[in-house]
């Protein structure tokens, strides 16, 4: 019997400093990072995982396969601009696409609470199929579990996806270099505010729609425009700030943003002001950032702007050698401030 089979030696996870899992551990902020670093990484340690990208790229029989998985626990299940079904497809397609992969196949696993409406389930599944068809992927396998009433929140969906990465395409969060430019494909915060408005019954003059979209063809267009793209990342929970902070930490570089270049639509701004939220931390589901070598930035920007999902693309910042691991932003007053990673979820202010 090998040493690996002895119970207690197979999982070298050290004890976490916190005795219970908090909601903040699922926020995509610092607490989530802590959970990954302290619990999962030591247990599963391998070089692919250590990259900490949104997808792993593995080589099988000479082919470079990207693989990723994501679980969707959103409430409400239906929201302006999408639903849990389309989101479950887009989220996984996007995680593949930002790895440079052409998304091909998805699995779908459903955890359904007893008593869930069959009609709603049907609508969600149809929405998934519509999103999959539009993204050019097929849902080829799946699983269903039903849990007792009260033991789930209606419906949870997990999707896992695989795609093919072309030879020579290496995108990773540890590849940003001083001088690189940071590009984004449009305004931020729409998904998070659409969900919050729906959940809390907040009403605005016109409905704020989620930006939920599949970004695979935009990614392909970016990669076609230049071979000097270092990293792509879709912005999800934790918003723009979390994605940039992760890249700054993994590449050991600093990032300087220009507040005036970051677009926040009027309604999202209004809602954020009212609720005391910072749009930099609000979730998106159809936005990505591209870290691009300085000489290639204008070409990539032009390519992004020629795509329907990138018409409002902008260069929003620069990678710098100074202040490694830190993201700063030039404010409208010309001063600099830190754009920190939040510990947990962003909480509405008291007054």
């Amino acid at each position: 019997m090998s040493a690996n089979a002895i119970p207690g030696f197979t999982c070298p996870a050290p004890l976490a400093t916190r005795d219970t899992v908090l909601l903040g551990h699922g926020s995509g902020g610092k607490l989530s990072g802590e959970l990954v670093r302290d619990i999962f990484l030591p247990a599963f340690a391998n070089p692919e995982l250590a990259q900490l990208n949104d997808q792993a790229v593995v080589t099988i029989g000479g082919a470079r396969i990207a693989i990723t998985t994501d679980t969707f626990v959103i409430r409400p299940l239906f929201f302006p601009g999408g639903d849990i079904g389309s989101l479950a497809v887009h989220g996984t397609v996007n995680d593949l696409a930002v790895g440079g992969a052409q998304p091909l196949f998805l699995s779908a696993a459903f955890i359904i609470e007893e008593g869930f409406s069959m009609d709603e389930l049907r609508r969600i599944v149809q929405s998934m199929q519509g999103a999959a068809r539009a993204a050019g992927v097929q849902i080829v396998t799946g699983d269903t579990k039903v849990v007792e009433h009260g033991k789930g929140d209606g419906l949870f969906i997990n999707t896992t996806g695989i795609g093919l990465v072309p030879a020579g395409c290496v995108l990773s969060a540890d590849r940003a270099r001083a001088g690189d430019r940071i590009l984004i494909n449009g305004s931020i915060g729409e998904h998070g505010i659409a969900i919050l408005a729906q959940r809390e019954g907040l009403e605005f003059e016109s409905t704020i729609e989620s930006d939920c979209a599949a970004l695979h063809s935009l990614c392909a267009q970016v990669l076609q425009a230049s071979s000097e793209v270092r990293c792509l990342r879709d912005l999800t929970r934790g918003g723009l700030s979390s994605a940039l902070n992760e890249i700054a930490a993994q590449s050991r570089i600093g990032i300087e943003l220009d507040e005036s270049a970051i677009d926040v639509r009027e309604q999202v701004r209004g809602a954020c002001e009212m609720l005391g939220l910072d749009p930099l931390y609000v979730a998106n589901e159809g936005k990505l950032i591209a870290i691009v070598a300085p000489d290639a930035a204008e070409d990539v920007l032009a390519a992004m702007r020629s795509h329907p999902l990138g018409r409002n693309s902008e260069i929003i910042g620069t990678v710098t050698e100074s202040h490694p691991n830190l993201v700063t932003m030039k404010t409208s007053l010309g001063t600099a401030r830190i754009v920190d990673m939040l510990a947990g979820d962003q909480l509405p202010r008291i007054c």
Partner: protein, 370 residues
């Protein structure tokens, strides 16, 4: 966006900062009372724009920070009772009590919910008649009227499963306490615009006269604060001590009379403990006897709770403007937003959190250059 863009305009802000530099001939110490104002100062780097002889110190106006630790402990203890649903504002959930916080209580199975308004707690109470719904109500004169209104409404509906764990504080007595302190260095105040929107600024006239100190009611955007500082610098140079209203688009002399009425109806003024500072006479609000049935402190047996602050935390000095957060040896080392030693590091309006979130790069750079 109207009322935002023009008050965040870099050209106007820099011009104001230059004007301040031109008129300020001596060193002046100015305190902004409200945590929201501290937050703006740090977020926009307003202190970087100002000349070095204008020193800003940060006041105790963060409702989360000054809520007594006993109140947090009581809220946690209440939340752990099986028949209680505890409702509060989001940023109260992370505030450390003596042994735990509401997020941890929630993780251990307590029914803790985040609300955007106290009336949501009423809705929960109506929908769940078998649950005892308690709203943890903290805050200054700003949040108190909505809390009073909620209790008034609960009484009108004769709701029997709703109560409030209230810890309200008042600004003018705190200013009086700060100015009476032997270590006081403050020469001018930026009064809190939102508080004055509710209660007006008549009381501040008395303070300005009594202590011969200029006070400017200020707003919360960068240009608001720079304008307020400009008005204060002007008064300080002239040697005048009166109350001026910079935030006139929101604040009137009388304030919001219906809001004041509902406050009077439900609450009466009492002595109040402030976390980090101690007891300040006549600086809090308690339920009037007619509303005692909605006082969670009375309904639940909570008197046995006593609490201890971490010894290393200097929040008392920070909240009184006697120390800057970066002068604390634990700042950004043993005390961070993830592992806070005191409330000012937790709340989004706390001075320590504002320094940590927006300015620790500058702090690190200045320490290296020393």
């Amino acid at each position: 966006m109207k009322y935002l863009d023009e008050y965040r305009d870099g050209v106007i802000a820099r011009a104001l900062a230059q004007d301040i530099a031109a008129i300020a001939t001596r060193h002046w110490v100015i305190m902004e009372i409200c945590g929201g104002q501290t937050h703006t100062i740090m977020r926009y780097g307003i202190d970087e724009l100002l000349p070095s002889n204008i020193e800003l110190v940060h006041g105790p106006g963060c409702p989360v920070c000054v809520t007594p630790i006993e109140t947090i402990d009581k809220a946690v203890a209440l939340a752990m009772q099986r028949d209680v649903t505890l409702v509060s504002y989001g940023d109260m959930l992370r505030v450390p009590g003596s042994h735990s916080d509401l997020f941890r209580a929630k993780a251990r199975g307590a029914d803790v919910r985040i609300a955007y308004s106290p009336t949501e707690a009423l809705r929960i109470a109506r929908a769940n008649p078998t649950r005892k719904v308690v709203f943890l109500a903290v805050g200054f004169e700003t949040t108190a009227p909505a809390n009073a209104m909620t209790v008034w409404q609960a009484k009108r509906e004769s709701l029997t499963n709703f109560s409030m764990l209230a810890s309200h504080v008042l600004v003018p007595p705190a200013i009086r306490a700060l100015l009476s302190s032997p270590g006081n260095r403050i020469q001018g105040f930026i009064a809190p615009g939102h508080v004055c929107t509710v209660v007006g600024y008549r009381e501040y006239d008395d303070l300005a006269r009594e202590f011969s100190i200029p006070i400017v009611v200020g707003g919360f955007e960068p240009v608001d604060l720079l304008e307020a500082i400009h008005m204060l610098a002007h008064q300080l140079e002239l040697g005048t001590a009166c109350v001026q209203n910079q935030y006139a688009r929101s604040v009137s002399y009388q304030g919001n009379l219906p809001a004041q009425q509902i406050l009077q109806e439900v609450f009466e003024v009492t002595d109040q403990k402030w976390r980090g500072i101690g007891e300040i006479a006549q600086s809090g609000m308690r339920f009037r006897p007619e509303y005692a049935d909605y006082d969670a402190n009375r309904l639940f047996d909570l008197d046995l709770i006593s609490a201890d602050e971490p010894a290393e935390c200097i929040s008392a000095l920070v909240l009184q403007g006697q120390r800057k957060p970066i002068e604390c040896p634990a700042f950004a080392k043993r005390c961070t937003p993830e592992t806070p030693l005191g409330a000012p590091m937790v709340s989004s309006e706390g001075a320590c959190a504002a320094y940590y979130r927006y300015r620790r790069h500058a702090v690190a750079a200045s320490q290296e250059s020393r």
